[in-house]
Amino acid sequence: MEVNRRLFIKSCGVAMVGLGGMPSFLTRALAATPMPNGKILVVLFQRGAADGLNIVIPFAEPNYYRLRPSIAIPQPSLGKNEAAIDLDGFFGLHPSLSPLAPLYKQRQLAIVHAAGSPDNTRSHFDAQDYMESGTPGVKNTEDGWLNRHLQTQPKPNSRPFRAVTISPNLPRTLYGSAPAVALPDVRQFRVLAPSPKVEGGFEALYAQTLDGMLHGTGQETFEAIDLLRQADPARYQPQNGAVYPRGRVGQNLLQVAQLIKAKVGLEAAFVEANGWDHHVNEGGVQGQLANLLRELGEGLAAFARDLGDRMENVVVVTLSEFGRTAQENGNRGTDHGHANCMFILGGPVVGGKVYGRWPGLAPDQLNEGRDLALTTDFRTVLGELISEHLGNQNLERVFPSFSAGQKDFLGLIKT
């Protein structure tokens, strides 16, 4: 049985004042009650609008090479590394994503192409706002879709780490009334003082206060600190020989893996990958995009390897506010476009397949004559993950005024 530490503290609050705080051995013992891991969703947002057409390449689409004379990724050919990695005879992975190819083969990785937000805006700001609030076209939604998911799945004994972002600020996706924690660095989540007495002092202050709101949140905070101390994040060693890349994306994924292994009750995590807005010199097999993809691919592969069997409960999904123009521009880059590709990675995923109807790249098939058209609403994908993976049946509250339901799901999750 799980001892509820908060309840314990509440019930002996009076005694604590007299004693000047709970003996530390007792605190530690009570904190050491791990929470069984439930299902976990990790959202990775590629800010800046990633170029989906050069990430998952439609190499069998003749228009692709016509539209991108200087930045196209060559068709796969045996023994050649500088080319797309064949997935299904039509689509290929960017060669920088080679660490993900085995996961695709093992059917842990699925891809949805021509997916995204139906709103036509080409403003990064608005498009991110719409995708994070989960309400394209509606600007005044106050909370984010992931927070609404948590709101509709209330947990009576919920833990402070239900929803986490590895960043100093909460992303729009996690705004809302359900508690969510912004952790700039898992190793720094503690009272930063030379002596542990200071932490004890604050803990006692917040335990005794009659200020209900600060009392409750204070208890949760110290519970969270204890939970993390248990996990001892400073000495974390990735397992199974996983090596995370050294950039921010890799290190953030590493910290999410730490939290998952620490069994702190994590249900949702949000990770950001920045810098995808390549208007100029985007590059092809090598270059700016290739470098970002290398870190992304290595990071996701290390994450899956590190978590091993634990991936049975984990799904990672990637999002980016919109795609980029099908045709390269005059600066060997691409401008703001429309539909994009999404990656879905995890044990519960029916992978090894590129999902979604391919709209084609012929002039009359393009959105407004310039962008990859949209055939799958991102909410259909997220809705399936929330419903089939996380077991939330309140989709109409998570994505209000979005009509797609079970019948529209792509079959991304094993049932």
Binding site: V181, F189, L205
Partner: protein, 644 residues
């Protein structure tokens, strides 16, 4: 009423006699009252007051008073507490703390006494008339921030966007970026070792008086950095405390996000020219100023909104003109066509894309800026308002952004807004809509509600909101009058309102710095803490602005950061800001005494006995005597200091 004042005056005289205060001193009124309340407490005071009023002795005293001090009895009574302020439930001490916390960013050492000296009501009236307050010290602080006085055009010229800067330097964007990142790596202000770098920098600057390294940012980041630094500096050091709170409130009400494209270059002017001049003026002036500001036009996309028929109309006109004037002038027509404001991203060689109506501004104008979400408007009203604002756009958006009305994009047909026909034509359509909205009863109510929510309690009593809304309507939206109604309402001073608000991150950090009497010359490291506690300044993404309710600010991660901020600030570990702790205590070597002194200085002793006891026990536990830094940090990080 007169009797009461007189009796009160007598009682003061009596007290000052009792405490041996020299009556001949000009300010004996103030001293008398201070002594009385300070030593007796409110209960005693009330008791004495009642006794005095009851017996025949009152009459006797009154007559004696008039007889002995006729001149004094005739002087204005503004220094008396509570004067015209309807304060019944709070003591003078409490009321002064309340005022300093709610109408400013909390007291600095000595502020409570100062306000008592000049009288609470007079202090409030001064704050409401912010121009009358000498703020020359503040003005000197601001001289280190050159961007503050620049126009948007100057900012764009001096701190051009990277792509433009690259072109000017004759580099490819990639080369330019590489060069810049090399430069940044070479500077001592990189993430690692930033603290040390900053401290050393500060020390050097203290000696030489040169501007901070932090401020030496060359690129467009400098604009936002200076805006943030100035906002912090004003919150901490300005004497015009209420004005600074109001600027924060109204900026947040008419929020613009610094991260949306060009807005980075537009916010300096927005803050300075649009928000600041109007915070104690008429609401309509503020509303019109925001509606015509490049920052808002850009943020909520109105600059791109056009009558969907405008394109065809223009084409037709041009064809006609070409036919009329022949081919020689056709070029001119094409040139004019090209000069229309650009329609977002354009394909090369493509004719200007057909543009349409954009409803963003129209919707937020009614939902967030004026009527409120339940203010009684429909989707049809949103569309009609959007039509009225077609043609409200920007001239030279990338060089010298400026509001301008482009008649050719305007929808010339009549509009129906909230049941009224708008058909003034041209720019007057939008202006008439603003006038209609500014004078709508829903607006009076919504603005009053938001003010009361920020300044009084999260869920303000409807009677207070109605009273404020009435003033709003009677005074043509005079914001100073609405504030005065709020402050002169018993609800503002009620026990329920007292210490009921959770400090926003900006308020917490500013109030902690003020409580410590901190001095500094680089508030950016302090501002980073505000971001970590959840309120990155000028970086609220949605048009709603930051929340004024407690729930938004009390979360696990934020609370921990609040405690860590307290420890870091009191411990002198935040570069650019220093506090002199020994100056705040009577004896430095005595921990219990220091605790008492800090509780008094930071919280006016307004802590629960349990908190005091818990702190005393915790401090007594450690073998080594607790340092002043630690004691101050615990008090600033305590639950009590999170409220105001």
């Amino acid at each position: 009423m007169d009797n009461e004042i007189i009796a009160f005056s007598c009682y003061c005289v009596k007290l000052s006699h009792f405490f041996g205060v020299d009556n001949s001193r000009q300010n004996f009124w103030g001293i008398g009252i201070n002594m009385g309340i300070g030593n007796m407490g409110l209960a005693d005071f009330r008791h004495l007051h009642k006794t005095l009023l009851r017996g025949p002795v009152v009459v006797a005293l009154v007559y004696t008073f008039f007889f002995l001090f006729p001149a004094v009895a005739g002087t204005p009574t503004t220094r008396a507490f509570p004067g015209n302020l309807p304060i019944a439930e709070l003591s003078e001490e409490e009321a002064v703390w309340h005022a300093l916390n709610r109408l400013g960013f909390g007291p600095r050492p000595g502020d409570v006494e100062r306000v008592r000296q000049i009288g609470l009501e007079r202090w409030i009236e001064q704050q409401l008339d912010s121009e009358s307050i000498d703020d020359s010290v503040m003005d000197a602080h601001l001289e280190c921030y050159p961007t503050l006085a620049m126009s948007s055009a100057q900012l764009l010229e001096k701190y051009p966007p990277p792509q433009l800067a690259a072109r000017q330097a004759g580099l490819s964007p990639e080369e330019y970026r590489r060069l810049r990142s090399q430069k940044q790596q070479a500077s001592p202000n990189r993430e690692e070792g930033r603290m040390e770098g900053e401290t050393a920098d500060l020390r050097r600057r203290m000696q030489t008086g040169e501007p901070s390294q932090q401020m030496m940012l060359a690129g467009p980041q400098r604009i936002l950095a200076e805006l943030v630094a100035v906002k912090m500096t004003r919150a901490i050091y300005s004497e015009r405390q209420l004005q600074e709170l109001l600027v924060d409130f109204w900026f947040n009400h008419f929020n613009v996000f610094a991260g949306k494209g060009a807005d980075r270059w537009l916010l300096t002017s927005y803050d300075r020219d649009v928000i600041r001049p109007h915070v104690l003026g008429k609401f309509k002036d503020l509303l019109v100023a925001t509606a015509k500001s490049p920052a808002m036009l850009f943020y909520l996309d109105n600059w791109q909104s056009a009558d969907p028929q405008a394109f065809e109309r223009l084409q037709q006109q041009m064809t006609e003109r070409r036919q009329r004037l022949g081919n020689r002038f056709g070029l001119l027509g094409a040139e004019r066509m090209r000069r229309l404001p650009p329609a977002g991203q354009q394909q090369q060689g493509q004719v200007a894309r057909r543009r349409g109506l954009n409803e963003n501004y129209a919707r937020e104008l009614m939902e967030l800026h004026t009527l409120g979400v339940d203010g009684g408007y429909s989707q049809q009203d949103v569309t009609e308002v959007a039509r009225a604002f077609t043609g409200w756009t920007l001239r030279a958006p990338r060089r010298a952004p400026e509001f301008y009305f482009e008649a050719r994009l305007h929808d010339p047909n009549p509009k129906g807004v909230l049941g009224r026909k708008i058909h003034a034509g041209g720019i007057k359509d939008g202006e008439e809509v603003l006038d209609l909205l500014a004078h709508h009863p829903s607006t009076a109510k919504f603005i009053s509600l938001k003010l009361a929510r920020r300044f009084v309690v999260d869920e303000p009593p409807p009677v207070l909101v109605e009273r404020m809304a009435k003033t709003f309507q009677q005074t043509d939206g005079d914001l100073r009058a609405v504030l005065r109604t709020m402050i002169y309402s018993p609800e503002f001073w009620s026990r329920e309102s007292y210490r009921a608000k959770i400090k926003k991150p900006l308020e917490l950090v500013a109030s902690a710095a003020r409580a410590l009497g901190a001095q500094g010359d680089n508030p950016l490291p302090l501002a980073r803490w505000i971001a970590q506690i959840g309120e990155p300044l000028y970086q609220c993404q949605p048009p709603t602005g930051y929340s004024d309710k407690a729930e938004a600010w009390v979360s696990t991660g934020a609370l921990l950061n609040r405690m860590n901020l307290a420890l870091a600030l009191a411990g002198g570990r935040i570069a650019g800001t220093r506090a002199d702790l020994p100056a705040l205590v009577s004896v430095t070597e005595d921990a219990p005494q220091a605790l008492d002194d800090f509780l008094n200085a930071f919280l006016g002793d307004q802590v629960s006995p349990q908190t005091r006891e818990t702190l005393a026990i915790k401090l007594g536990e450690s073998a080594n005597p607790a340092s002043l830094e630690l004691i101050a940090g615990l008090v600033l990080g305590s639950p009590e200091f999170q409220r105001k």
